[in-house]
Symmetry: D3
Subunit: 135 residues, 6 copies
């Protein structure tokens, strides 16, 4: 299933704009494997480029949060947004960056707990405590 | 605004079942301040007890993920579930556990990036790569 | 706050198409009070009429599910969709149809539990058991 | 997979109430093809009729917004609500009404951008500027 | 598809902590069939235990809301949270507890109606009527 | 309410990196008014810059979709993601780009209809028709 064509390597190589992004993905990640989201985005070269640049600048750069934790945060958001593909791809990425089975289990329990209190608070329409406000 | 009554300390103390939970919240957290979600849940003592026990066992115990990171994951889920109160309370909790301004900024950018690719993938209905599957 | 004007009774009465819907709301519900969603929809008379007819045909008619339970289902969906106004209005409606404090507490705990297992299942990407499939 | 039976044409024709709706779908759309949502709804004839009448009155009538744009808005909502079937069916419908590949690519980028700023704003809990308020 | 291993009965029996939970699931439900969510959670024994205890205490106990209605509320939340597995499993559970086809049809129409007015209210940013507020 | 400080013009002007983005926002939009999301993002200059560049490249450039329609799509996503601030700001932006009251009413009805069928389809777990698949 897909609403757009999934580009093969041959089709990628036929379009220099697309090929440049794929070359950068491969160089940045140090692997020949390019997963399907990029092959689906290839039908829209400017969208492919914008998306990759955003992903690269945040997920493949130095920063305040370590790479494993970044992927765990990505999983949490992808779960809450019900994105099956994203849960699969970022769980694989987090494991590749060292997430242990124990951390994975704990992550899922925290996400489930957060979801339950998110729904409780919305049910109760709890007013924000003045202590929590910056303004 | 609220769909239930927000219990004052006087009302809390009048119900031994509720008071026991509040005493444990105060002892566990080492502070007298008890925020509004617990005061709203107080109208349903078994629900209050179950919720607190779940929160305590995951957020106030030893585990594989450090306390600051747990709160950052909680924030990520609360954002994706659009829970204003939860974003406020867990941002305050994460800061209290050492989240720096730089980490907060990066967290929000990762959440926003994840949301954008979650939506892109759902738009494209990208099939899961066999490489990402455990089964 | 609002992105459209909230119609007063005077403004409602000045538009026969809008007035006819408001008359029907008042007659069907047996009260003069008309809440803000209808006053906000009044700027779009065909939308007002379509929305009211859908609500009336499902929520104010005989059917297989009793009126109190219908409102409790409505609350559950409104919580999951993070609609503050809807949680307020349907909690009031459920109480008016006999929802007890105990039922309200239990409803919120079930919603919170469902949210937590919804997120867990999405995290785990659990395959559907053949036993659950109709086709 | 499905939680209800998907009606075949033979089963549709056996129920006059269901057949009447299917005849109207075919006449309105000018095609014999009736997609699975209607075949799944056929188990509940009043629900089938209500849903079709709502869809027909908004999507197959004259109005202020052109048919292609309506379908593009439908896709945007279906993405944000994580409805795989709906993304597939309305992407096909939008293409049938003239959505170009360039428009499709741009639509997906706008949806992704909106999702990212939606999450950022919720993270930041930005107060609404007085300039944006109608009331 | 799955992001974790789905435990077979043999693997379950090899871990006493996991086996104890499975024994309790079987005894509580009065059936040997244990569905996939528990087999996926088995990789994280404390998470498995916590999740089952929460489900058992709310869904398999006496309370103010009858078992069939609880499952219908669970379905409503699972739909709004886009959890395919959960919709399948709780639709099966509700049918096992007596939900009729008519009730199922009506439930789906109420959920769909609630979703439509949830979105309308969010679009209109309707202010909460003072009549609906508890505080 | 806010989880970060909302920068005043004086504070913006004190940071050259932030000031440069604000200058570009003002020049691009042709107005001195800069709304609160940018003032909240100012605490994280790289995040502010990345967000503005994404918004500018998609919403303030030539493209296949006209500016008014882009804003209407943005509203649709913001409604489905329950972002109150975003609904306010993009409704104002769409009106400024020529959205009529009739178009606004129709947009909201389409969003509400899409939400209702999104939920119906998820409830029914309708299989995707082969006719809708690209692959």
């Amino acid at each position: 299933m897909a609403t757009t064509h999934i580009f093969t390597d041959e089709e990628v190589n036929a379009n220099p704009e697309v090929k440049a992004v794929f070359d950068d993905i491969r160089a940045t990640r140090g692997t020949d494997f390019v997963n399907n989201i990029w092959r689906a985005l290839a039908a829209d070269p400017p969208g492919l480029k914008r998306t990759w640049e955003n992903v690269k600048s945040l997920m493949a750069s130095e920063g305040a949060i370590d790479p494993k934790t970044r992927e765990m945060i990505y999983i949490a958001v992808s779960i809450a947004n019900s994105c099956s593909y994203c849960v699969h791809s970022h769980t694989a990425a987090a494991k590749a960056r060292g997430m242990s089975d124990e951390e994975h289990g704990e992550l899922m329990q925290i996400v489930a707990l957060a979801a339950s209190t998110n729904h409780l608070v919305t049910a109760l329409q709890v007013p924000v405590d003045p202590e929590f406000q910056v303004m």
